[in-house]
Amino acid sequence: MDLENQQRVKDIAESTPAEDIIVVLGGAEAQAAKLMGDTVTTGDPTFAGPLAGVQLGLTAYHAVEPEFKEAVDADVYDDQVGMMEMVLDVDEIAATMKEVRGE
């Protein structure tokens, strides 16, 4: 996750309780999703940004996961994510995100 976004997440996490935060990710591949997901849970795995060694323990979902899809307006989802849902490896991403959440 780029450094600016890491700082934004860090700032939000400092002023809001972790259980009130959900991070929704949009990476195109499972590997990218894992890096970003790990960054907001156990810390930046590349140790390059403000979240290096910082364990925020936030909950993260990817936009193509069913939990997110079912929680939002179906038409808006179709409009914004529908296209990507068709080309991304949804199963692999969902499986990776479960790992990130320690499920």
Binding site: Q31, L35, G43, P45, T46, F47, A48, G49, P50, A52, G53
Partner: protein
């Protein structure tokens, strides 16, 4: 028994100081861990701990190698460490050169076990693998998760004075050291076994890989420069403004061929740099600082050279695979020869 002491070296980026704009950061030392040191420290476990982290800007180190190395060594020595670790530098060229140089110096001048890690194509790898233990890593920080255990594994072996295995066993770059050992079978049998496998089309492993020399003989000098056609080629990523061919700022997948026949010099209005490996400000302000069209035009007008070739070839050298660079050059070298070019000036950043 107290933990062994480790000093860690990283660049300005992993220290969280900044990116390219801070690559001129002078050497400094901080107590404890910084950046990747957090992960390395955890992996070192009870055996050792990082007591200090030395940080230096990549550009500063490479442009002041002697002074920077001396300053860094002095900082390291003060902690009287039992082990030194640099990086991992992945494919960041200047970082790899710095990490390699410091690791070599620590080993030779301070006599302390020292190890670093980077990607095989990092220029620092070829430069220092014979003089320092360099663990293999992937080509980007995305592989930090695998790099840290690999690096600390070899580091701990060195710290404990354990026997270091072959490059394959301990995942470091071959240093060109030959070690004698007694094989079970004698040489003639091993050779015949290998030949039989080869004849059967089975896989076999050579006992002595042929080194990749990749050296070329210099071409004979240009005889009469006043009649010569000179071409410019750059890996500094100079492209027409807007980068119409979208040459990537790193790991370029292509090169561009651009017409300079209407230009007496390049300028901020018509050209820019696509290179993502250093602060682009100076090259964007005045592209002649990377592709010296202005000076060559003057020399052409004065008759010092016969002609400046109307096309220049450009790609971005940052993280670009050696095989790719070779491929591009083979292609456009043919065009240069066909165009009657006598000599080429290549510039790099």
């Amino acid at each position: 028994m107290s933990k062994k002491k480790v000093v860690h070296y990283i660049n300005q980026f992993f220290a969280g100081i900044g990116g390219e704009e801070k690559a001129d950061h002078e050497p400094e030392v901080r107590e404890g861990v910084v950046g990747p040191g957090i992960g390395i420290n955890a992996a070192l476990g009870d055996d050792a701990e990082i007591v200090a982290t030395v940080i230096c800007g990549d550009t500063y180190f490479n442009e002041h190698m002697e002074d920077a190395e001396a300053a860094v060594l002095e900082m390291i020595e003060k902690y009287d460490p039992d082990l030194f670790i640099a990086g991992p530098a992945f494919n960041a060229g200047r970082y790899g050169v710095a990490a390699g140089a410091v690791t070599k110096a620590v080993g030779e001048k301070l006599g302390i076990p020292a190890v670093t890690a980077m990607y095989v194509e990092n220029p620092g790898a070829d430069m220092f693998k014979a003089d320092a233990y360099i663990v293999n890593t992937g080509d980007s920080a995305a592989t930090m998760g695998e790099a840290i255990p690999a690096l600390t594994s070899l580091a701990l072996k060195l710290l404990k004075g354990e026997e270091i295995g072959t490059p394959d066993e301990d995942n470091y770059m071959a240093r060109g050291v030959r070690v004698n050992y007694f094989a079970d079978d004698r040489g003639s049998k091993r050779a015949v076994d290998m030949l039989v496998k080869k004849l059967k089309g089975e896989e076999y492993e050579t006992e002595y890989p042929m080194p990749a020399f990749d050296r070329v003989d210099p071409n004979p000098p240009v005889e009469d420069m006043t009649k010569a056609k000179i071409a410019l080629v750059t890996s500094g990523g100079i492209v027409p403004k807007g980068n119409p061919d979208r040459i990537e700022s790193s790991s370029a997948s292509k090169y561009g061929k651009y017409d300079i026949s209407g230009f007496d010099k390049l300028s901020e209005a018509d050209h820019e740099t696509a290179h993502g490996g250093h602060d682009p400000v100076y090259a964007n302000e005045d592209p002649n600082r990377v592709l010296p069209v202005d000076v060559l035009r003057d020399l052409e007008k004065e008759g010092a050279i016969g002609e400046l070739h109307q096309y220049f070839y450009s790609t971005v050298g940052n993280g670009t695979a050696v095989a790719s660079a070779k491929k591009y050059a083979e292609e456009f070298a043919k065009e240069l020869v066909e165009a009657g070019v006598d000599a080429v000036i290549t510039t790099s950043t």
